[in-house]
């Protein structure tokens, strides 16, 4: 019933594909956290395979090994995430390419070829609806009636600072 060969093959295929997807993500992505998540995905594929073999053979060995890998993944995640926090504090970025100074001495450095098309994400200020009563402005200038709030919200503190300077 449970130990049928077709069922075993199905689970093995799903486990193998999960492992492959984890490998693809680990190689392709550059964020440290996403790379580590992909390693965990590979562990999940292996766990699925172990449990499938355990169910097929009718023994506990595969499940025991999967439980150990679960505990190992927890320990690994703790250490790695602590390292990521420290690395982010030092470099301000989670890019793995920053830490390529740690490579072997005779390895050529990886040239980041995507540095040219660095995108500038357009700033999107939040649109705040006007509500409530305007606070009393200290000295409204004749050119700037205080009904008209400035368009970008980010520029508002600078203008009020200018107004207090003019007073």
């Amino acid at each position: 019933m449970s130990g049928s060969e077709a069922a075993l093959n199905n689970y093995l295929i799903v486990g193998a594909l999960l492992f492959t997807l984890g490998l693809v993500g680990f190689l392709a992505r550059r964020n440290l956290i996403v790379m580590f998540l992909c390693a965990e995905l590979m562990l999940q594929g292996v766990s699925l395979t172990l449990v499938a073999f355990s169910a097929f053979h009718g023994t506990w060995g595969g499940q025991v090994l999967a439980i150990f890998s679960l505990a190992l993944a927890a320990a690994e995640a703790g250490i790695a995430l602590a390292l990521f926090v420290v690395l982010f504090k030092r470099a301000g970025s989670l890019d793995v390419s920053i830490w390529q100074d740690l490579r072997e001495a005779d390895q050529p450095p990886i040239i980041d070829d995507t540095a040219g098309d660095e995108e500038q994400p357009e700033k999107q200020w939040p649109h705040l609806t006007r509500s409530g009563v305007l606070p009393p402005q200290p000295q409204p200038k004749p050119g700037h009636p205080h009904k008209e709030l400035p368009e970008p919200v980010g520029a508002a503190p600078a203008q009020t600072a200018g107004g207090s300077d003019g007073r």
Partner: protein, 311 residues
Amino acid sequence: MDFNQILAAGSPSLLSWGLSSLRAGLEQPHSGAILRAMVILVLGAAGVYLMLPRGPISGRPWPRYLGGALATLALVLLITMPIPAPASVPPLENAGKTMIWPIDDLSKEDQPAVTCYTFHFLAFVSLASAVMMITSRNPVYSALWFAMVLLSNSGLFLLQKAEFLSAATVIVYAGAIVVTFLFVIMLAQPSGAARYDHHSREPLLVSLTGLLLASVLVGTLHYSARFEDRGAGATITRRPTSDLIAQVDKKSGGFQQIGREDSQHVSGLGKTLFVDHVVSVEVIGLLLLAAVVGAVLIAGHKVDGGVIRKT
């Protein structure tokens, strides 16, 4: 034909060699299954290649949509195609069993159809979430898709009568590890969209590598020994390795076997874990303790101007 001769003869000969070898391969008994599997894997690899982040998302969204469509098509083909066994099957390679590919039609087995459909659904959700996880630009979305993978995997564990592992996966992985990941992402995510999240490293080569690995794994599964000597529902009797185990076994009457109809599932697992593998349990507990101490020690240092200082 020697490979050097082919290379010396040039590309037309290489092409004819490839065609002849392809024709020879198609005459193999399981060529249809292999061809279908290769079509599915190539579709999936192309989909993942198109879905991997390459540049800002505002530029061209259509490769991502096309890749998503291709990957979904590959997954649907993989999951929902029950294929009857080919007529001419060598009797040595599958002894009296119909070979079905890629995902075997479990309704032919003697288990309820609900299990079969649940397996198909959970496998689809697991693989689709894995694809979305490795192609999401936002690490938060990656972590959430990984939680989805974990939930469907725990469902798959449950289908295989691994109840404790299923619960432990949900509690430990999805409850603790993914949440810790989310905490670290919130702590260590630079403001705005990071450039390294929008550019994957060598998507084409990586997809080809994944295609190669998946082909090798699936082909190995297909061509390997079909596990015929252990029939359905086989139980393995284990020998007691010490007097302690012998005592335990005396109480339960003989060697420990898990029949699948055993209702005392967790107790049997606990007995195995804490009798046979008790040293390993202690070692893994020590390892967890060391990991906690190490994590506190590593993350507790204050970084001041690029120099790590002890607090």
